[in-house]
Amino acid sequence: MRKLGCIRFAAIAQKALRNKQSGAIRGTSLPRTSREPLEQVSSETELRASDAALMARMVQRDEAALEALYDRYAGLLSSVLNRILRDTQAAEEILQDIFYQLWRTASQFDASRGSLPGWLMVIARNRAISRLRHHNPAAGEELFENTLVLLPMSLESAITQKELMGRVKGAMEALPKEQRAAVELAYFEGLTHSEIAERTGDPLGTVKTRLRTALETLKRAMHP
């Protein structure tokens, strides 16, 4: 639970809480190893379906499936939207819009053509950058457009997300300062080579080399 997402993380907590409220799960009293009473946030099993199964249920207009996917990935999307826009209200508007569009176009989803969280993250970044740069956010923004996105691993597990998060953060922090800045300007502000050169005052060739080297390094770090 990510989203933990922290994406699905909120989901985990929410569902754990629901489980607790419903009494479906039971925790056991701990031995008196501490004077502090144990507070059990939750202790019941949470059932979780795959993304594809939840999308299939959404096609049948199952609201719970939408909530489950929201719980799983909203945190991830919220993080990147807020990083790009630095505006909570705008980020939440786009977040709501993406999930509403997911609900309306669920029948167009084809799991064989890519990963759902990959799609969601790509579309979230595109929309945030469009908004940031005052482009028309509706232009070419079909959710399941012909954009194939293949993630190297599933993000359905909170543990995977946590491990990956550490790896990606570590890889970004390990980049030389100038390379990291170039990646951030491209990824979070949507700048091209020449726009980065203009922004930083560095020669275009230098910017190209920095970005290319940084992407090579990140690729190796994320797929050792």
Partner: protein
């Protein structure tokens, strides 16, 4: 571009949106007709999407969920909305055949109808208020829990311990995410369904002292089980284990060890 892009990073640069002009157009045109390069571009998009994981976690406000679900329900109701209520029938026909009756009867009827409508509306508003109040309390609880989980996941001293299956025991695998300072533990795993009269129980084996129960759960087939536990802070773990216990669990482990993992 007549051939494939010469360097793998070209796909990353294209997916990133850093390329411009001829470079951008060449790759865009090429991948439209080359399936192997289209797949490389898809992989590049996936790799770059993961950079989103490097940013600080921001939990969305619970109000977004509320607005989203209201939007969805409005859409569904809109699709099945019943026709508007019929207008009130004209009753001015004069029940007693006198002029005042012709006035008072419809007025009285209108007042009664208005009272009924107002009473109904008031009742509905009370119900909506109660639901909103309940939603607000639930959202506050959810937000608090979500923050705790996000803190656990983002804390640098949170450990992740894989739990491995033991020979001859039900098959499965799991991970435990644990932060001793925060006293928070999250379990995520898949196990074969437990017998009806048994339950699985997770234990922290501390470096000193007896195992401490960290939750009792029943496994459902093919599903991943998750739960979050708050424990007294400061328990230094030597290992984590899942045992099969009588239904409801036990204060100390009595059953066979199904999964185990050493804390490093």
């Amino acid at each position: 571009m007549n051939g494939h892009p010469t360097r793998e990073e070209d796909f990353d640069l294209y997916a990133l949106g850093a390329l411009e002009g001829d470079e951008k157009a060449a790759i865009g045109n090429h991948v439209a007709t080359c399936s192997s390069c289209a797949e490389k571009l898809a992989e590049a998009r996936g790799r770059l999407a993961l950079l989103a994981l490097a940013v600080p976690a921001v939990t969305p406000s619970p109000s977004v969920t509320t607005r989203l679900m209201n939007q969805v329900r409005s859409e569904k109701q809109g699709a099945t909305r019943a026709p508007a209520v019929s207008p009130v029938p004209d009753t001015t026909g004069g029940l007693f055949g006198r002029w005042w009756a012709a006035v008072l009867v419809p007025v009285g009827f209108a007042l009664a109808l208005a009272s009924f409508v107002l009473w109904t509306q008031n009742r509905r508003l009370d119900q909506q208020l109660a639901v909103l109040h309940e939603d607000m309390q639930r959202e506050q609880q959810q937000l608090q829990s979500a923050r705790e989980v996000a803190d656990l996941i983002n804390a640098r001293d949170t450990m992740i311990v894989p739990l491995a299956p033991q020979p001859g025991m039900p098959k499965g695998s799991a991970h435990v995410m644990y932060n001793a300072k925060m006293g928070m533990l999250m379990y995520e795993g898949q196990l074969e369904p437990n017998p009806a009269n048994k339950s699985y129980q997770l234990w922290i084996v501390p470096t000193q002292g007896n195992p401490i129960s960290a939750g009792v759960f029943n496994a459902a087939s093919t599903e991943t089980d998750h739960f979050l536990m708050k424990l007294p802070p400061g328990i230094a773990p030597k290992a984590f284990a899942v045992t099969l216990e009588p239904a409801g669990g036990r204060p100390a482990p009595t059953g066979p060890m199904v999964l185990v993992g050493a804390a490093s």
